[in-house]
Amino acid sequence: MSQDPAQSGPGPAAGPGSLGPEAHVMVGNADKFINWCRRSSLWYLLFATACCGIELMQAGASRYDLDRFGAIFRATPRQSDLMIVAGTITHKMASRVIRLYEQMPEPKYVISMGSCANTGGPFYKDSYCVVKGVDLLIPVDVYVPGCPPRPEALIDGIIKLQKIIDQKRNFAAKA
């Protein structure tokens, strides 16, 4: 019996107690379902320090809409699970970054956006008060290069993070 979904119509009527071809069933493990939920609604903390912050705002606004990935900005770390560190981090700000990271509930992810957050950026050589990379303070999952990175690059970083989340195992492996 040909099962070409493009040509066939609604299909034969199903009798009671049996699942017809239109029934929508997903078969998988709990990991797949949980990861699907988590990666499709990454709420990010608005943590924009410097120029990359404007690209972050423009990425979340009209043209490069981050809302279609389920990513909404939240103002408080208690309600967000993604921190996009956009901009230069100075020594005065460093303790606040760590405090914000600790205030986020698990599971949490960090994207380091822009040269300044990756390695200190153009201020690497001569500046006495810039932290040379936010990974000296908190663990980072994805690095997005650029000065500032285009919104498409940030979206690429978020998609890479979604792929990382898809691989995670939420339940302990058997010993």
Binding site: H91, K92, A94, S95, Y128, C129, V131, K132, L136, L137
Partner: protein, 156 residues
């Protein structure tokens, strides 16, 4: 008014406290004054009807290698002329009277000069570090400043 006329007016009121006029290669020209007289000369520059310098454009500290300086760039909105005022300070314990009661715009800029150079402004209503953390050691914009190795455990 031309810088020479402004210099003459200041000299005829304050005598030797106005030390010299730096004109060649300096735009705007600088009237160099002695540090202790900064506040009274500033009041005169603001209130005199012919001068009327009511706007402080910029206050900055400078480190010439043998001494410090504080420069004030003034502008008059009504008359339209500009002038600079400069005082030289010794490298050890530089201090001079504050002008924040003459132009309130001076307060933040004096705090910045204190933070980055260590110049003390006496009589300022609020003199604290402004740009660097409170427990930072040293004054970074001095020419002989050495970058610290670590700050609170993070490599500088």
């Amino acid at each position: 008014m031309e810088p020479k006329e402004i210099f003459e007016k200041v000299t005829e009121k304050f005598g030797g406290k106005a030390v010299e006029l730096q004109e060649e290669g300096f735009r705007p020209a600088f009237v160099v004054v002695s540090p202790e007289s900064v506040r009274e000369i500033a009041l005169f520059l603001r209130d005199d009807p012919a001068l009327k310098f009511d706007s402080l454009m910029c206050l900055s500290g400078v480190d010439y290698k043998d001494r410090f300086a504080v420069t004030y760039h003034l502008h008059s909105l009504s008359v339209g002329h500009q002038i600079g005022v400069k005082t030289y300070l010794p490298r050890e314990a530089p201090s001079l009277p504050s002008v924040d009661m003459v132009w309130p715009a001076a307060n933040f800029q004096e705090r910045e000069a204190f933070d980055l150079y260590g110049i003390v402004f006496e009589g300022s209503w609020d003199l604290r570090r402004i740009l660097l953390p409170e427990d930072w050691e040293g004054h970074p914009l001095r020419k002989d400043y050495k970058y610290p190795e670590f700050y609170n455990g993070i490599k500088v």
